[in-house]
C-alpha cells in the first residue's frame, strides 16, 4: 500500500477535495435548536457557504455574517460582532448564536472570546442567547475540523453536570452524516429505549417539510437544554475511526470535566462496524438487539450473497471526508470491492492507518491511500491505476465523466441529484442501500455496454 501526499508533487491545489473550516462550523451549529450561526468575517464567506449548502440541502439556510468592511480590518471586528449579535437577536430571537471565525478575523487577531465576554457583561437582558465561539481559521484544517471544533465548543461552553442520576442516557456524536442517517440513529436509540442526546441534529432543521408560515429558524435540532445536561450522561459515543485519534473533542471534554465515559467507534457503515455499534447499544441498554435490526441484517447478508458476483473484484475509488471514506472502505471490503484508491482532502495523518485497519491485509498492496489531495491528483492517479467505479460526493462528477466511470454519490455535497438529504449510509439499512445502488450501477453499465442487452441476471 502506497500512502501518498499530494503536496510533495505540486504547490497549487487544483480542484480541492475539501472545504474550509467555517463551513463545517456553520453545519454543526445548524443542528442546534433555535440557533443561528454567525461567521465573523467578510460577507462573501457566509454567502458562498449558504449557496453551497443550499445546493445540497435545498432548504433555506440563513447564516449571518459580521460583515467586515475596510475599517473593520483596521480597527478590529469587535463593533461589528456586537452589531451582528444585536441584529440577529432582533430578527431571529435565537436561543443560541454560534460564532465561527474566518481567516480574516483570525489573521487580524480579533479576540472573539473577549468580545463575547464583553457583550455578555454589558447585557442585562435575561433573554441573552447562549453565545458559543469556535476558532475556525480557514487556513487550518478542513470543514471537518470546523465541524468537530464547533461540536466541542458547544459542549465545552454549555455542558454541565447536575449530578442527577436517572435512566441510562447517551451522548451521541455522529459526525457529519446525512439527515437520513441522523433520523436512523435516533430511531435506533428509541428502539433500544435509550435516552440520547444527538449532537448536532440537523435532521429536521436541514430537511424539513413545507411551511405554513415562514420560520425564521427552522424547527428541530438538539435543544440547548439537552446540551446543558450532557455532563450527566452515562456514556458518550463518538463515531469515526479517524476522529478517534483526536485528542481534543467533545467526548474527551466530557470525559475530563464530568468523567463521562467515552466510547469511540467507527461510523457504523457496513456489517462489522454496524455490528459493533449495535453490540455497544445492547451492552449499554442491557437489551438484545431489537428484531427489526436483526431482520435488516439478515436480509442484508442474504442480498450480499445473492449479488456477490457483481461486486467481487470490482475496483473502486473512494474520496471525501476521512471518516466517511474509512467507513466505506470497510463496507467495500466486506462485499469484495477493492478500494484501489482511498483519498481525502483532509490531512491529519491518521487516515491511512484508519483505512488499513478496516481493509484486509491481502488487499493492502492493491490500494493507494492519499491524504491532503486534490481532484487533479486523484484523477491522474486513477488514469494510471485504472478503476471501475467512483464512490464519493458530487464534486467527483467531472472526473467521473472524463474517466467514463459511474459515480455513486455519497456524503456531502450532492449538488447534482435530488436526494442528498435522504442518502442513508449508516446501519444495516444504509449498507443495504449502498449495496443495492452499487450493484445496480455495475449491472446497468454492463447491460448498457453489452451488445446483447440481457434482460435477466
Amino acid at each position: 500500500m502506497k500512502s501518498v501526499h499530494q503536496k510533495e508533487n505540486f504547490t497549487a491545489t487544483q480542484n480541492a477535495c475539501n472545504l474550509c473550516a467555517p463551513l463545517g462550523a456553520a453545519f454543526a451549529f445548524k443542528g442546534i435548536a433555535n440557533a443561528m450561526p454567525l461567521l465573523h468575517g467578510s460577507q462573501g464567506c457566509s454567502t458562498y457557504i449558504r449557496r453551497y449548502m443550499i445546493s445540497h440541502f435545498k432548504e433555506p439556510l440563513d447564516i449571518a455574517c459580521s460583515n467586515f468592511g475596510e475599517e473593520t480590518a483596521i480597527f478590529g471586528g469587535g463593533a461589528n460582532l456586537k452589531l451582528a449579535i444585536d441584529n440577529i437577536r432582533k430578527q431571529y430571537h435565537p436561543e443560541l448564536i454560534g460564532v465561527a471565525t474566518t481567516c480574516l478575523s483570525e489573521t487580524i487577531g480579533d479576540d472573539v472570546p473577549m468580545f463575547i465576554k464583553a457583550y455578555r457583561d454589558a447585557c442585562r437582558d435575561d433573554a441573552l442567547p447562549a453565545l458559543v465561539h469556535v476558532s475556525t481559521p480557514s487556513y487550518q484544517g478542513t470543514h471537518m475540523q470546523g465541524f468537530h471544533g464547533a461540536v466541542r465548543a458547544l459542549i465545552s461552553t454549555l455542558a454541565e453536570s447536575t449530578g442527577a442520576c436517572g435512566s441510562p442516557s447517551i451522548n451521541l456524536f455522529p459526525g457529519m452524516m446525512s439527515p437520513a442517517d441522523l433520523r436512523c440513529l435516533k430511531t435506533i436509540m428509541t428502539d433500544f429505549d435509550l435516552d440520547c442526546t444527538l449532537v448536532p441534529d440537523y435532521s429536521d432543521t436541514l430537511n424539513g417539510p413545507l411551511w405554513t408560515e415562514y420560520q425564521q429558524i427552522p424547527e428541530g435540532g438538539t435543544p440547548v437544554s439537552a446540551l446543558r445536561r450532557m455532563g450527566d450522561a452515562t456514556i458518550s459515543i463518538e463515531c469515526g475511526l479517524v476522529l478517534a485519534g483526536e485528542k481534543e473533542t467533545a467526548g474527551t471534554w466530557l470525559k475530563e470535566h464530568f468523567d463521562v465515559p467515552l466510547h469511540r467507534i467507527g461510523l457504523p457503515i457496513g456489517i462489522r462496524q454496524s455490528d459493533r455499534f449495535f453490540e455497544l447499544l445492547s451492552t449499554i441498554s442491557g437489551r438484545p438487539v431489537p428484531k427489526i435490526y436483526t431482520g435488516q441484517r439478515g436480509r442484508l447478508l442474504d442480498a450480499m450473497v445473492d449479488g456477490h458476483k457483481h461486486l467481487n473484484g470490482v475496483r473502486a475509488a473512494l474520496f471525501g471526508e476521512e471518516d466517511l471514506v474509512a467507513g466505506l472502505a470497510a463496507f467495500c471490503a466486506e462485499v469484495g470491492i477493492i478500494p484501489v484508491l482511498c483519498a481525502t482532502g483532509g490531512g491529519n495523518g491518521r487516515f491511512a492507518q484508519a483505512v488499513r485497519c478496516v481493509v484486509p491485509e491481502a488487499c493492502h498492496d492493491r490500494m493507494q491511500i492519499m491524504e491532503d489531495v486534490d481532484f487533479v491528483t486523484i484523477e491522474k492517479t486513477l488514469e494510471k491505476i485504472g478503476v471501475d467505479l467512483l464512490i464519493g460526493h458530487s464534486k467527483g462528477y467531472t472526473m467521473s465523466r472524463r474517466l467514463k466511470r459511474p459515480l455513486i454519490r455519497v456524503g456531502f455535497p450532492v449538488h447534482d441529484r435530488v436526494d442528498g438529504s435522504r442518502l442513508l449510509h449508516l446501519g444495516y439499512r444504509g449498507a443495504q442501500q449502498l449495496f443495492d445502488r452499487i450493484a445496480n450501477t455495475v449491472i446497468e453499465k454492463k447491460q448498457e455496454k453489452s451488445t446483447v442487452g440481457y434482460t435477466y441476471m
Binding site: 469511540r264 442474504d302 450473497v305 445473492d306 456477490h308 458476483k309 467481487n312 473484484g313 471490503a333 446483447v452
Partner: protein, 481 residues
C-alpha cells in the same frame, strides 16, 4: 429440520459411491409432488430450436409457455434476432371451447407477413391435442400459402420428459435437412450439433475448426440459420455435443444420408482438445488437419495457463457439487474442476441414462453422491453433508447454494459468459474463483461451523474474508464502558 427426509420412491435415484451397490434408476418420469428441477417436453423442444435466429417460433397455447421462455437464454445470433421474440397464439377460453386452429392460422399468417422468416416452428403445448387442433394441417396449409417451411413441433408438455422434447425438435429439424444445395461443400466438412452458442461459444468452437482447415457447414443449433440447416446433409461428419439432445438428429442423418457422427464436449481443456483431435482423426487423409489442431491446442493452452495456475492456487482443495441438465456436461465439469485442484463430492443430472451414471460412478471418488432428477431438499441435504464450497448448476439451484452460504457458478443456458473452448476454461476458472473467494461467505451462518478453512486468502483475486484489525482503533483513547 437438520435431516431432510428422502422420499422412498426417490431412493433408487440416489447413489452413494463406495457405500451402495450401483443400481441407479433413471429415465423416469418425475415423481408427482417432488419438486423436480426438470422442465417438460415443451422445454426440451424449445431449448433445441431456440437459437435458430431467422425462424419464427410460434407457441400455440395459453400465454404462460411463451411468457416464461421470452428471451431467457444467452444463445447469440450474428444477424437476425427473431428468436429473441416471444410469439404466442395466447389461447383464451373460447378458443379452448371452439378450437384454436383458426387463430393459429391467422397468427401464423400475419407473423410471417410481418417478420418474413425463413421458416416457422409451431410448438404445441399441453392442451393443443386435447382440444383437438390439427396443427400439422394448419402448418401445411400456411406453409404452402406463404412459401416457407412451417413445421409443427409435437411438444405437449406432459407427453414424456424433456428428452422427448429433444426428439420432437429433431423431428422438425430433420424436415429441413436435405432441402438445400450442397455444391460448395468440401470433403473436410462438419456440422456442429448440440452447441447453442450461449454467450458466443459456438463462434469460439467454429473458429478452432476453421483454423484446423475444417469447413463448418452448419451449427445446429447455435447462431442457427434455416438455409444452413437445409444444406447440412452435405457435410462429411456430424459432431454432437450435449447428452443426446441432438443425437436423435445425428442418428436420422446417419441413417438417411450416411453421415457418421462422433460425440464431443467443449468444456475443459482435456475435452476441448479431444474434440479437436477426434475430428482431425476422422479426416486422417488430411494429416495437416491434425498438425494444425495440435498447434491450436498448444498455443491456446499456453495463453491461459499462467492465469489458470494463479487462480488454482486459491481454489485447490475446495469441494464442489455439480447438478446440471445433461450428464455429458457433468463429465467435463468433473475434469475441469479437478484441473483447478477442486474435489467433486456431489454430481447429478436431470436427464442422464444408465450408461451416463455408470461413467460418473467410474469417474468419482468414493463418498461422492450421484443423483438423478434431484429436488431442492435432496440437493440442500447433500451439499451441507458434503461441506461443499462451490455449487455448479442452473438458476433453480442457485438460491439453494446461496441460502447455505455456498459459492455458485451458473453453467446453464442463462449464462452470459462463454465457458466453452480454451478461453471459456479461463472464464470458467475466473467465475468459480470470483464466487469462491468472495468475502461474503464469512457472514454465512451455515458456513461458520466449518471452521476457518473456507476463509482463506485470495491471493490472485478477491479479498481476504477476515479483516485483520476488525475495527479496533489504533491510536484511539482507551475504550471504556
Amino acid at each position: 429440520m437438520s435431516s431432510t427426509p428422502i422420499l422412498e420412491a426417490r431412493q433408487s435415484q440416489i447413489h452413494h459411491k463406495g457405500r451402495d451397490p450401483f443400481e441407479m434408476t433413471c429415465d423416469k418420469h418425475s415423481l408427482a409432488g417432488s419438486v423436480s428441477q426438470r422442465a417438460c417436453v415443451f422445454c426440451g423442444s424449445r431449448v433445441v430450436l431456440y437459437p435458430i435466429a431467422d425462424a419464427l417460433h410460434l407457441i400455440h397455447g395459453p400465454i404462460g409457455c411463451a411468457a416464461y421462455t421470452w428471451d431467457i437464454r444467452g444463445a447469440l445470433s450474428s444477424g437476425p434476432e427473431l428468436h429473441r421474440m416471444s410469439f404466442s397464439t395466447d389461447l383464451r377460453e373460447t378458443d379452448v371451447i371452439f378450437g384454436g386452429e383458426k387463430k393459429l392460422a391467422a397468427a401464423l399468417g400475419e407473423l410471417i407477413d410481418v417478420y418474413q422468416p425463413r421458416a416457422a416452428f409451431v410448438y404445441s403445448t399441453c392442451i393443443v391435442g386435447i382440444i383437438g387442433d390439427d396443427v400439422a394441417a394448419v402448418c401445411r396449409k400456411v406453409g404452402e400459402a406463404k412459401g416457407i417451411p412451417v413445421l409443427p413441433v409435437h411438444s405437449e408438455g406432459f407427453k414424456g420428459t424433456k428428452k422427448d422434447g429433444y426428439k420432437a425438435a429433431c423431428d422438425a429439424l430433420f424436415k429441413l435437412v436435405g432441402t438445400g444445395a450442397t455444391e460448395d461443400i468440401g470433403p473436410v466438412s462438419i456440422n456442429i450439433l448440440g452447441e447453442f452458442n450461449i454467450a458466443g461459444e459456438a463462434w469460439l468452437i467454429k473458429k478452432y475448426y476453421e483454423r484446423m482447415g475444417v469447413q463448418v457447414v452448419s451449427i445446429m443449433t447455435g447462431d442457427g440459420r434455416v438455409d444452413q440447416l437445409a444444406r447440412s446433409h452435405g457435410a462429411t461428419l456430424n459432431v454432437v455435443q450435449c447428452s443426446g439432445a441432438l443425437t436423435f438428429l445425428a442418428e436420422m442423418m446417419k441413417e438417411t444420408y450416411g453421415i457418421p457422427y462422433i460425440r464431443a464436449s467443449y468444456f475443459g481443456i482435456d475435452d476441448m482438445a479431444k474434440a479437436l483431435y477426434d475430428v482431425a482423426e476422422q479426416f486422417g487423409d488430411h494429416p495437416d488437419v491434425m498438425v494444425r489442431s495440435r498447434e491450436i491446442v498448444r498455443s491456446e493452452v499456453d495463453a491461459i495457463m499462467p492465469e489458470i495456475n494463479r487462480l488454482k492456487a486459491d481454489l485447490s482443495g475446495k469441494r464442489a457439487a455439480i447438478y446440471v441438465g445433461g450428464a455429458f456436461k457433468a463429465f467435463s465439469l468433473i475434469k475441469a474442476l479437478r484441473y483447478l485442484g477442486m474435489n467433486v463430492v456431489l454430481v447429478g443430472s436431470q436427464t442422464g441414462n444408465q450408461s451416463d451414471y455408470a461413467t460418473l460412478r467410474d469417474m468419482c471418488e468414493d463418498g461422492t453422491i450421484i443423483l438423478d432428477d434431484a429436488n431442492p431438499l435432496e440437493l440442500s441435504r447433500y451439499i451441507i453433508e458434503k461441506k461443499v464450497d462451490l455449487f455448479i448448476g442452473g438458476v433453480k439451484e442457485r438460491p439453494i447454494a446461496y441460502k447455505m452460504g455456498i459459492g455458485f457458478c451458473d453453467h446453464n443456458h442463462e449464462r452470459k459468459i462463454p465457458l466453452a473452448g480454451f478461453a471459456g476454461m479461463l472464464a470458467f476458472a475466473r467465475e468459480v474463483h470470483t464466487s469462491a473467494t468472495s468475502p461474503v461467505w464469512q457472514f454465512a451462518p451455515a458456513r461458520r461451523f466449518q471452521g476457518p478453512e473456507h476463509c482463506r486468502s485470495g491471493v490472485a483475486g478477491g479479498l481476504l474474508c477476515c479483516s485483520p484489525c476488525d475495527g479496533v482503533i489504533p491510536g484511539a483513547l482507551a475504550l471504556e464502558l
